[in-house]
């Protein structure tokens, strides 16, 4: 068996990342998904429901909504990582990679790193559409860039859950189903769309510690001003937890699947 040095393994992974990014750019379905999802949510919540939710001041609601929608978009896009991996495995692409003299981990690491392009595009597009709907960053460029880095970090930590589910579930459709079951409660049981004070007690208790809520609050703080410290520590703890728990699980499941 050929031993591959870490530098070569890194190069292989970067080549695979290039493949993933190229697939994203060339696949119109992915691009449409990136554009349509945030746009639909903004139209629905800012225009259709915003006036009623905010008691007439839909601009104020848009200011609260856009930072949360950035998190929601990242959640939805993370599903694509698991689906893409499952599709490649089902179609036999990974069997082909196994027959090549490349690092065993390269296809997996490459997919995850390559998907950072999709995450970044999605977060930036959501913010851009927010601008069209009247949202404005009031804190400056540096906090905005910090927020972007934090959001990409969050997406990266999330994608290991997606990878793990992608390795366990048999078919790409199943992966999508399982991940949506996971995403629904953590996104709607959060402060993305409403403040926790308006929720029933049992739901508010979960909302206050939910990683999506914490990150939404950090986004609001970094983009429009407000407290950042407490929510940031909580969000970072969740992100670290996701990586510590799901990275080993994903790698173990990947190795099992690649046997």
């Amino acid at each position: 068996m050929t031993t591959i040095s870490p530098s070569r393994a890194l190069r292989h992974s970067m080549l695979m990342a290039g493949r993933t990014a190229a697939k994203s750019v060339k696949n119109p379905a992915v691009l449409v998904e990136l554009v349509i999802q945030p746009l639909v949510m903004l139209v629905l919540f800012s225009l259709v429901l915003g006036g009623a939710i905010s008691g007439g001041d839909s601009d104020a609601y848009t200011r609260q909504l856009v930072p949360g929608l950035m998190v929601y978009s990242a959640l939805l896009v993370s599903v694509g990582t698991g689906v893409a991996l499952s599709t490649d495995i089902t179609k036999g692409v990974f069997d082909r990679f196994r027959s090549m003299p490349i690092a065993r981990s390269a296809p997996l690491v490459g997919t995850v790193v390559g998907d950072l392009f999709r995450y970044t595009a999605c977060i930036v597009l959501t913010l851009g559409f927010g601008y069209l709907f009247g949202f404005r960053v009031t804190t400056g460029v540096v906090p905005m860039l910090l927020d972007l880095v934090l959001m990409i970090g969050f997406s990266f930590s999330l994608c290991w859950i997606s990878v793990w589910v992608g390795m366990l579930a048999g078919k790409p459709e199943t992966v999508q189903g399982y991940l949506f079951i996971l995403i629904m409660p953590i996104s709607f049981g959060s402060t993305i769309f409403v403040q926790s004070s308006t929720l029933p007690g049992w739901l508010a208790a979960w909302t206050d510690i939910n990683p999506v809520s914490l990150l939404s609050e950090v986004n609001r703080g970094l983009l429009t001003g407000g407290p950042v410290g407490g929510p940031l520590l909580g969000a970072l703890a969740w992100m670290a937890g996701f990586v510590v728990v799901f990275y080993p699980l994903a790698m173990a499941a990947y190795k099992r699947r690649m046997r």
């Binding site: 629905l44 259709v48 006036g51 007439g56 769309f193 409403v194 929720l199 029933p200």
Partner: protein, 263 residues
């Protein structure tokens, strides 16, 4: 046997086929009811307090909003069941069973009618499940017996109209994936009407669209019948839209069905 009675007999046979499918796969009804129930729980428990306060009712909270949103969710259920028809039609068209039916001495329209009547049964079963869920989360209709009958009749009419449209959409589709996406606007229209918030809370352009699209009179009429709110001209518009959609869907589906199949 006259042509009409033969067509009725054949349609009854096709309906029996659809009901058999339903009994064999009861999970389908749960699936059609599932999305509306999720929306119901989501809007009552997550958005209910904020949206309810905006409705300005006596309670002005979650309880008020449950009463407001339930009729919209019932319409969403009807749309969800109609979407299922599109998938079952395209499945029949692509698996070759329809080609087999074409060679038999049966009324041509009966194949489509069977789908429509089967979908009506499925839609009403789904509506019943969603209605129970709505009652459990705090929906308190004030309707009398006559109002319930009228509301049920209207839901059947709407379901009939949307199902004919979805049959046509199923025949236009090449595969189940396309078929499941084509009727998606029907699921979104209740949200872009008076289903979830009053239309006067929307911005001008969107309000205009919301007031003139078919789901707004559908929802306002069902809400009026179940909750005793004023109906105005909505019932007339709802009936008009039903006739228009059913007729357009029927003629389109019939035209597509009568085309020679592709070799």
């Amino acid at each position: 046997m006259s042509t009409v009675s033969a067509a009725l007999t054949d349609s009854a046979t096709m309906l029996r086929r659809q009901v058999r499918h339903m009994l064999r796969y009861p999970s389908l009804i749960l699936m059609f009811a599932g999305i509306p129930v999720i929306f119901l729980l989501l809007f009552v428990y997550v958005f209910g307090a904020m949206l309810g306060a905006g409705l300005g009712g006596p309670v002005g909270g979650r309880a008020d909003y449950a009463n407001y949103v339930a009729p919209g969710i019932l319409l969403m259920t009807v749309a969800s069941a109609a979407q299922g028809t599109t998938i079952s039609v395209v499945t029949d068209m692509t698996t070759g069973i329809v080609a087999r039916f074409r060679t038999m001495a049966i009324a041509r329209v009966s194949v489509l009618t069977g789908h429509v009547l089967g979908s009506l049964v499925q839609a009403m079963a789904s509506v019943a499940i969603v209605l129970v869920a709505a009652l459990l989360v705090g929906f308190e209709p004030t309707a009398g017996f006559g109002d319930w009958i009228a509301a049920a009749g209207l839901l059947v009419m709407i379901s009939f109209a949307l199902t004919w449209l979805c049959v046509a959409l199923g025949m236009v589709s090449d595969n189940p994936a396309t078929a499941s996406n084509l009727p998606l606007p029907l699921m979104i229209l209740p949200m872009m009407g008076s289903g979830f918030v009053p239309t006067d809370s929307m911005p001008a352009g969107l309000r205009w669209f919301a007031e003139y699209q078919p789901f707004t009179p559908f929802i306002d009429t069902v809400r009026g019948l179940l909750m005793g709110t004023p109906i105005g001209n909505s019932a007339m518009y709802a009936a008009g839209w039903c006739v228009l959609i059913a007729l357009a869907g029927y003629l389109w589906a019939k035209k597509l069905y009568n085309r020679e199949p592709k070799a």
